[in-house]
């Protein structure tokens, strides 16, 4: 068993090891085009000379993108809804990082960078950019733009106090330099084993979002007088506030709001849109991607967003077919029936969308709970195993998840290179008697109603807080689980919270068993958040001990100590070494069984309008894999008759 797991990791590490070279050969293909086609809507601008010819707009080595179905046709408007503020959905057009996830999330492939090299010790990353690639205003995109970003934005204390963690290794900030006009190099003195994964995540997008020629004017250090004037015009006194409101770095909506801002995205706004009820983006004539038939992408002329904050309105708009791809939050198993009912009228189809998550939810046990007896119970693996066996996962999946999914623990998904059957399936069979046996080892005393007691004779009660605003089906799930657990003598109280009230519970030391998401289970994603496999998120005592080297916190048991060390190891190594570390870590986790899982998420889908083609199936949902944006929106097209 142990061996096979290792084998798998080994095989996978070979593939990743040669990734860089694969990318190189990928870009070579593009040379075969002698000329490019462009969207008809641009023709007149080109004819009038307002726009250079397509050959001058596309880089010398454009990214050739595979289409999911067939070569598309130009034109049309794709419609989406937006919740308004906090535009997480702008991933849907804004996923253009230096390197990106492949559509199925299994590997990292070139995007803005056409190729890269990683030093053997994983301390130096060198990226080759595309010659002749242009910003949306026609200026050339060069390595200096990335250096500019690093120097004046990401590590600029006027804008943020520290750069994002993946650019910092053991407290050392990256050195970013332009090797030549089209080569940029990131380096540290220690290895940064997860840089590529981070660059492909939503946090990587920021690297290619600042055009030096344009953004210089907003940097206080480079243009003090100009900035002062601009701020005065806006009536601002605080530079940070002003920057974030008018320019915006990562996470601020303002970064998309300015039509004058150069960008590398497929579609760009033509006017400020924040706060508007409906707005449109237009194709970027300088977009750097083409299809195999030498057509400049994207196919679709316009992207339109309609404000719909309420989920029922979003749903209604999808049901009427106003929207081309239903949003993730309404595309739930529960809503499948209503989508199905209205399918004819709405003229859409279901496209399966795999989750990248490990589980629908997990229970985490605060093993350092201030109540020492409670802590001792939670540290006892028998307790966790007992509770796990007590859950009738089949019934639960049937009732709450419409029969979709399979009993599963918190473990990498089946298609992930880190998958292990033992880790995924242990203790999932429903067996109340076995459960009682395990629990008897921890809490043997029971009262007349069959509830387990503390040594002092009080009932042992577990409290599970559920945020109904976040996952309403968790409330339903908990109602069933309460029944299961009480059937084996563990009294369970459900505390239903809202978004507002759950905030006050965050990080409280006396929080009881936690219930939260299990994300990052697909492909190599488990590497990015190994912490999520340990005990309770809020339970910081062991981690504190580990981080401070024993000055603070509580000394963890040996196996936990080892796991924490391994977590630290993962980003510091690369390739096969990294996989080996991960392998050892996962085995320890499997053995320790710190979290209880419920089921592997399944049955997700999106309702996609029938006029929208080239949508790959299955799509994939996730955050570090910022589903569904790696699905190549630029290759989507709208059938000619429905434009």
């Amino acid at each position: 068993m142990k061996k096979s797991l290792f084998n798998k990791f080994f095989r996978f590490s070979i593939i990743t090891g040669v990734l860089g070279f694969t990318a190189l050969s990928n870009s070579a293909q593009a040379q075969s085009c002698s000329s490019y086609n462009e969207a008809p809507m641009l023709a007149s601008a080109v004819a009038s000379g307002a726009l250079p010819a397509v050959g001058d707009r596309v880089p010398e080595e454009p990214l050739v993108v595979e289409v999911a179905e067939q070569i598309g046709v130009y034109g049309g408007t794709m419609v989406d809804t937006t919740g308004g503020n906090r535009l997480a959905e702008f991933r849907h057009f804004g996923y253009e990082p230096l390197v990106r996830w492949s559509v199925d999330g299994s590997e990292i492939v070139p995007n803005v960078a056409k190729s890269w090299q990683i030093s053997d010790d994983a301390t130096t990353y060198t990226f080759q950019l595309r010659k002749g690639m242009k910003w949306s205003d026609g200026e050339e995109f060069t390595a200096d733009d990335i250096v500019f970003w690093w120097t004046y934005v990401e590590s600029n204390k006027d804008i943020q106090s520290k750069p994002r963690g993946y650019m910092v290794v053991k407290g050392e900030q990256a050195t970013v330099k332009a090797v030549d006009k089209h080569t940029v190099q990131f380096s540290w003195s220690n290895p940064n084993g997860l840089l590529l994964e981070n660059l492909a995540s939503p946090y990587g997008v920021r690297v290619v979002q600042f055009a030096e020629h344009y953004h210089r004017q907003f940097i206080k250090g480079l243009n003090p007088d100009g900035v002062a004037k601009l701020m005065a015009a806006d009536g601002s006194t605080d530079y940070t506030q002003w920057w974030n409101a008018t320019v915006g770095s990562y996470g601020k909506q303002s970064e998309y709001n300015n039509p004058a801002r150069p960008s590398v995205h497929g579609w760009i706004p033509k006017e400020p849109f924040l706060g508007k009820e409906q707005f449109k983006f237009e194709r970027n004539p300088y977009y750097f991607k083409v299809d195999k038939a030498c057509n400049q992408l994207p196919y679709i002329d316009y992207r339109q967003w309609v404000l719909a904050a309420d989920t029922e309105i979003q749903l209604a708009k999808s049901l009427t077919g106003e929207v081309d791809i239903s949003r993730v939050n309404i595309s739930t198993p529960a809503n499948r029936s209503v989508f199905f009912e209205n399918m004819k009228q709405g003229d859409y189809r279901f496209v399966a969308a795999d989750s990248a998550d490990m589980n629908v939810a997990n229970f985490q046990f605060p093993e350092n709970h201030p109540d020492t007896f409670r802590a001792s119970v939670y540290r006892d693996k028998n307790f966790r195993v007992g509770l796990s066996h007590a859950i009738d996962r089949e019934e639960l999946i049937d009732v709450v998840f419409l029969g979709q999914g399979e009993p599963y623990q918190v473990a990498p998904r089946p298609r992930s290179p880190f998958y292990s059957e033992k880790m995924a399936k242990q203790y999932t069979e429903y067996d109340p008697e076995l459960a009682s046996e395990y629990l008897d080892k921890v809490l043997s005393k029971k009262d007349s109603d069959g509830f387990r007691l503390r040594p002092n004779g009080d009932r042992f009660v577990v409290v599970i807080a559920v945020n109904k605003d976040f996952k309403s089906d968790w409330v339903d799930m908990m109602e069933l689980i309460k029944g299961y657990w009480e059937a084996v003598g563990v009294e369970t109280v459900i505390e239903v919270l809202s978004d507002a009230t759950s905030i006050s519970r965050r990080g409280a030391a006396d929080n009881d068993i936690g219930l939260w998401l299990s994300e990052n289970g697909a492909g190599r994603l488990p590497l990015l958040a190994p912490n999520d496999l340990l005990g309770a998120d809020n339970d910081l005592d062991w981690k504190k001990y580990h981080v401070t080297g024993g000055k603070e916190g509580v000394e963890p048991p040996a196996n936990v100590k080892r796991m924490l060390e391994l977590i630290d190891q993962i980003p510091l190594v690369a390739g096969a070494k990294q996989d080996a570390v991960m392998g050892e870590f996962l085995e320890l986790v499997t053995d320790n069984f710190p979290r209880i899982g419920i089921a592997l998420p399944a049955g997700n889908y999106r309702a996609v309008s029938n006029r929208l083609r080239n949508v790959p199936e299955p799509l994939m949902e996730g955050w570090m894999y910022p589903g569904i944006s790696p699905a190549n929106f630029s290759t989507f097209y709208i059938t000619k008759d429905k434009q």
């Binding site: 029922e312 749903l315 209604a316 049901l319 198993p333 529960a334 809503n335 499948r336 029936s337 209503v338 989508f339 199905f340 009912e341 209205n342 279901f350 019934e395 049937d398 009732v399 709450v400 419409l402 029969g403 979709q404 807080a465 109904k468 605003d469 409330v475 339903d476 109602e479 069933l480 459900i494 505390e495 239903v496 919270l497 809202s498 507002a500 009230t501 759950s502 006050s504 519970r505 049955g603």
Partner: protein, 366 residues
């Protein structure tokens, strides 16, 4: 004008007038009925509020049938419903239900079912009406997303919803009478101040108030405490109207001759308030209060809609409607809206009752 019974007290006269107000009286009967249901929920509901059956998720309502064939093929009287055969179809996202004529679920009165503590006192397992076999389920209002009986849940919710109105109004009333009374009795600057305060409270849109206050409820509060806090929130907003009414009445009564006479009889202010003033606008207040209860019930549903009302596992009509408040329910399980009829019925009854009481309130008016 003459009166048929000269010894009749004021209350008797009101009752007599009220009896003649047909809609009001009908409302009265229904209100009593609803509060009786609230008192005996566990007994009246065929199932408990949380009993679920996985196979019956979203089972549509069953209809009551009367005759079955016995072995000889003869029709005999037996109340029953037909059980379902169900099948999950992933593509349509639905469980389809077909009545199975062979699955006869006999029903009866005074049957054994889920155990409950009647008023927290006696453990009991009899139900007024339900399946004779304890393991059977009957869904006159269909089943919800966990396979729970909507009818039973509606009946269980009656208690919370109806008492929340009552308690909320009672709280508003206490506040309203105290503050309105102070305002009206003392007048002057106190009155001016209180009037301004009321004006300000009434000008603030109620939703921010609700949200602000509801979010301040500690999440650890047990359901019963949450329930009371919610009623307090409702009454914090509700008292202003009552206070105005009370103040108006106080102001008007203060100048009445019989109040002056009471002062001349040497009565102290407190006695004047409680012996003279309060009884004289009590009937009016009762009417206003009755009319305020439906407002509270609706407000409770609104709070639930906003997601700041009562929380599961407490069931109220608001909670049930909030669960149903989505397109999926309308489109594929419309029976989830049946609790809405309970709301409509209750609100209608209370309104008619209040109207009748108000009309009857002053027996000297012709």
């Amino acid at each position: 004008m003459s009166f048929s019974a000269e010894n009749a007290s004021y209350g008797t006269l009101i009752w007599r007038r009220f009896r003649r107000h047909r809609l009001g009286f009908l409302g009265f009967l229904f209100t009593i009925f609803i509060y009786l249901v609230a008192a005996f929920t566990e007994f009246l509901a065929p199932h408990s509020q949380s009993t679920y059956k996985a196979r019956d998720v979203y089972a549509p309502p069953q209809s009551l049938r009367f005759f079955v064939q016995d072995r000889s093929g003869q029709e005999i009287f037996q109340l029953h419903v037909l059980g379902y055969r169900s099948k999950v179809d992933y593509d349509s996202g639905k469980r389809t239900f077909v009545e199975d004529p062979r699955k006869i679920i006999p029903l009866g009165f005074w049957v054994r079912g889920d155990k409950y503590d009647l008023w927290g006192l006696v453990e009991f397992d009899r139900h007024l009406f339900g399946p004779i076999k304890k393991s059977d389920r009957v869904y006159f209002f269909g089943a919800d997303r966990l396979g729970r009986d909507v009818l039973s849940r509606t009946i269980h919710a009656t208690r919370v919803s109806m008492t929340i109105g009552l308690v909320g109004v009672a709280l508003s009333l206490i506040l309203g009478i105290m503050i309105g009374g102070i305002s009206g009795f003392f007048g002057g600057f106190i009155d001016l101040g209180i009037q301004r305060m009321i004006e300000i409270l009434q000008s603030i849109p109620s939703i921010p108030l609700w949200i602000g206050l509801a979010a301040a409820i500690p999440p650890t509060a047990p359901p019963i405490q949450t329930y009371f806090l919610i009623t307090i929130i409702l009454s914090i907003i509700g008292w202003t109207g009552l206070a105005r009414v009370v103040r108006g009445r106080f102001m008007a009564l203060k100048d009445e001759d019989f109040i002056k006479a009471a002062r001349l009889d040497g009565n102290r202010p407190m006695r004047i308030i409680f012996k003279y003033m309060l009884p004289n606008f009590l009937s009016h207040i009762i009417a206003v209060v009755t009319l305020a209860i439906p407002g509270m019930i609706i407000a409770e549903t609104s709070l639930s809609f906003l997601g700041i009302g009562l929380r599961q596992p407490v069931v109220s009509w608001g909670v049930l409607l909030q669960e149903a408040q989505n397109l999926k329910s309308i489109s594929t399980a419309p029976w989830l809206f049946l609790p809405g009829f309970a709301v409509v019925l209750a609100v209608l009854s209370l309104n008619f009752l209040g109207d009748g009481l108000r009309d009857a309130g002053d027996p000297y008016e012709t």
